[in-house]
């Protein structure tokens, strides 16, 4: 579904998009298709990361989904406990198949930090 949309985007404005996307993709195959041939080339886009992290936070039972924005702080804005923060970080680890070291995981306190960490991690998928 995402591939189809990406393909349609390419076919509509080929010249302009290639210049922008060239920095993201390491190789642009035939017909400007977006398929990457190695599992390490396709990093998640920021919007994907934001959407998935917000989904994880919204499906937490103690959280009111209407209040969740990409800059929300778990303890100050959502009124969660520090143990709840630990649970959310674990859920994010499971969602993106990451392994976050304990010291780093302790520092993740808000949605923006979580999104930044996941986006900058080379192995998030």
């Amino acid at each position: 579904m995402a591939l189809r949309n990406a393909l349609l985007r390419h076919l509509r404005v080929p010249v302009q998009n290639l210049a922008v996307r060239g920095s993201n993709q390491s190789q642009i195959g035939f017909l400007g298709s977006m398929r990457a041939f190695s599992s390490h080339d396709d990093h998640l886009s920021k919007q994907d990361v934001v959407d998935r992290v917000l989904d994880v936070v919204k499906s937490f039972p103690k959280v009111d989904p209407a209040k969740v924005t990409p800059e929300v702080h778990f303890q100050k804005d959502l009124g969660l406990d520090s143990l709840d923060t630990v649970e959310i970080v674990m859920a994010i680890e499971e969602e993106f198949k990451l392994e976050i070291p304990d010291k780093e995981a302790d520092k993740i306190d808000s949605c923006s930090l979580a999104i930044e960490y996941v986006f900058n991690h080379p192995m998030s998928s």
Partner: protein, 117 residues
């Protein structure tokens, strides 16, 4: 004098809180290792959370230290012998598999056939 001691007190409390958070995180991962099926995991995870919540209002610093030591001993007792570790992380199955080759090495694809391309 009291300023110094209260700063030390707060530093000690903050260190304890961090220890509690790390202990809770490890205990939760361990619970997931033991209880693989999600519905069992949720039940055990809420039991663990109740145990932590029961002691959350303790103010005496020494008592908190003893509780943390007790909790860590319990965690050591229940550690899983074969925990799930994400494959590319240290301890996982893909760790150090296929490391990037050192710079300067390249593959010659037509070795021995340079004369007739």
């Amino acid at each position: 004098m009291s300023g110094v001691s209260s700063a030390a007190y707060f530093a000690r409390r903050a260190a304890q809180k961090e220890k509690v958070r790390i202990l809770y995180r490890r205990a939760l991962k361990d619970t997931l290792n033991w209880a693989v099926h999600r519905h069992i995991f949720y039940r055990d995870a809420s039991d663990l959370r109740e145990k932590f919540n029961a002691n959350q209002d303790v103010e005496d610093v020494d008592r908190i230290d003893k509780l943390i030591a007790h909790g860590e001993a319990e965690y050591d007792k229940w550690r899983h012998p074969d925990p799930y570790i994400v494959p590319w992380a240290p301890g996982g199955s893909k760790f150090c598999r296929n490391p990037t080759p050192p710079a300067g090495i390249e593959i010659v694809y037509n070795y021995g056939q340079e004369d007739n391309p």
